[in-house]
């Protein structure tokens, strides 16, 4: 639950939607500029200049990812993700728009994710999981049925019991 300080300000656009505003029943009458006072997560402080810091971290990420070879899927994934988030962060009118665009993730959480992603890149450059041998075959996904799956590891088939000498 974000806590908001409401201060009336002359905004020309009516019905400005801000997240988690319990007082939204009055929004159609007047519009307020809302300042977030807490994020609702323990240990996560409100970052007032989140947009600038997000842009900074995203641009650093796009710089750092160049250390990964261009044909690696990791680079394509991180670049696509970061460019999209950078574009949303730059073109959004308010921080609330950024949070809406990412399904309610707060900008503080987006900032933490961006920082973790940035810190992960040099470690991934060291690990290099995209480097495979020439004879590496792509792993096929084994589809299993929950009911008749048997043991999850294939053991050697037991030898057939010898037919009992009968009759």
């Amino acid at each position: 639950m974000h806590r908001f300080l409401t201060c009336a300000s002359a905004l020309s656009r009516p019905a400005l939607r801000a997240p988690a505003a319990q007082s939204m029943s009055r929004s159609s009458v007047r519009c307020y500029a809302k300042v977030k006072t807490e994020t609702g997560f323990a240990g996560v402080e409100v970052v007032p200049d989140a947009r600038e810091r997000l842009v900074e971290v995203y641009t650093q990420t796009l710089e750092a990812i160049k250390a990964v070879p261009a044909d690696a899927a990791y680079r394509k994934a991180v670049e696509g993700l970061t460019k999209h988030r950078l574009q949303v962060t730059r073109t959004a009118r308010e921080l609330a728009d950024i949070e809406e665009a990412f399904e309610g993730q707060q900008v503080e959480e987006l900032l933490i994710l961006a920082q973790e992603e940035l810190a992960l890149i040099p470690r991934m450059v060291e690990y290099k999981p995209w480097v495979v041998d020439a004879d590496h075959k792509e792993v096929q996904i084994i589809h299993k049925n929950y009911f008749d799956s048997g043991p999850s590891i294939q053991l050697e088939p037991k030898p057939e019991p010898e037919p009992a000498a009968a009759k």
């Binding site: 639950m1 993700l81 993730q105 996904i141 049925n145």
Partner: protein, 257 residues
């Protein structure tokens, strides 16, 4: 009020495997979770149609399984060198076998990458396969709350070989690995505090191994002369009981005869 609740905690309260973003702007601003890679690249891996057991619950499983399938494809493209085998159940459970030495690196990627965010280590346990060369199999259950997805990592380890510890990534792995060590005898390298957690002080042996008997080797009792608890080889002594399985009617017939 419901809208306030649904926006609380970053929208996590309305997260479900079948959740669809309801804010109109997200339809045009937010792409799919795996935007740039060719999802379902290999056409031979299309999932078979599941059998319609369980009725309408298959809708839930279908959506979850398809999300897990996309996650697996994505992981295979990002880290092909780390994946030895992948199993996907029709309920959406995912088992990924990884090389033992790469465990900290795999956990690093799964925890910190934005498209994975497996921030919780729910469980670590081990399985004993005495007939195999690599006797033990250790499984790590990871949960992503953001994407409502579970993943299970598997690795095999022979006896008397160390496994890299997951405590570098997950704090919950501390006690979970202690339990695996106590029950199976698997030693984790770089563990800060590896000691017994469930067995008695001075207990010898690893109870959940297949060659450990059900009754154990020792039993404890209070000795009145020594005024303390003593350990003795197990006897499981019971009072003598005479089991007479005959029914009263059979006894009557036997007496008459």
């Amino acid at each position: 009020m419901s809208s306030a609740c649904s926006r609380a905690f970053g929208g996590l309260l309305r997260r479900s495997p079948v959740s669809i973003p309801t804010v109109q702007s997200t339809a045009r601003l937010a792409p799919a979770r795996f935007p740039t890679l060719a999802v379902r690249a290999n056409s031979t891996e299309s999932a078979p149609k599941p059998e319609k057991a369980w009725g309408n619950q298959w809708n839930y499983y279908n959506k979850y399984r398809s999300k897990q399938f996309d996650t697996l494809n994505y992981l295979k493209q990002i880290a092909p060198a780390w994946i030895k085998e992948v199993q996907l159940f029709d309920t959406g459970d995912v088992y990924i076998e990884i090389p033992r030495q790469k465990l900290p690196q795999v956990l690093d990627l799964l925890r910190h990458h934005t498209n994975f965010q497996y921030e919780q280590c729910m469980d670590i346990y081990s399985i004993d396969w005495p007939e195999k060369e690599e006797r033990f199999e250790v499984q790590y259950v990871l949960l992503s709350v953001r994407y409502a997805s579970r993943i299970i990592l598997r690795l095999t380890v022979p006896q008397d070989v160390m496994v890299p510890s997951a405590t570098c990534m997950y704090d919950s792995a501390n006690w979970l690995e202690r339990e695996v060590y106590d029950m199976m005898g698997i030693i984790f390298s770089d563990h800060p505090d590896l000691r017994r957690i469930l067995t008695d002080y001075g207990f010898q042996g690893f109870p959940l191994r297949k060659d450990f008997p059900l009754s154990g080797y020792t039993e404890v009792r209070y000795d009145d002369e020594l005024k303390r608890v003593v350990q003795e080889p197990v006897e499981l002594s019971q009072e003598f009981r005479a089991f007479d399985f005959a029914t009263p009617w059979e006894k009557l017939q036997a007496q008459k005869a």
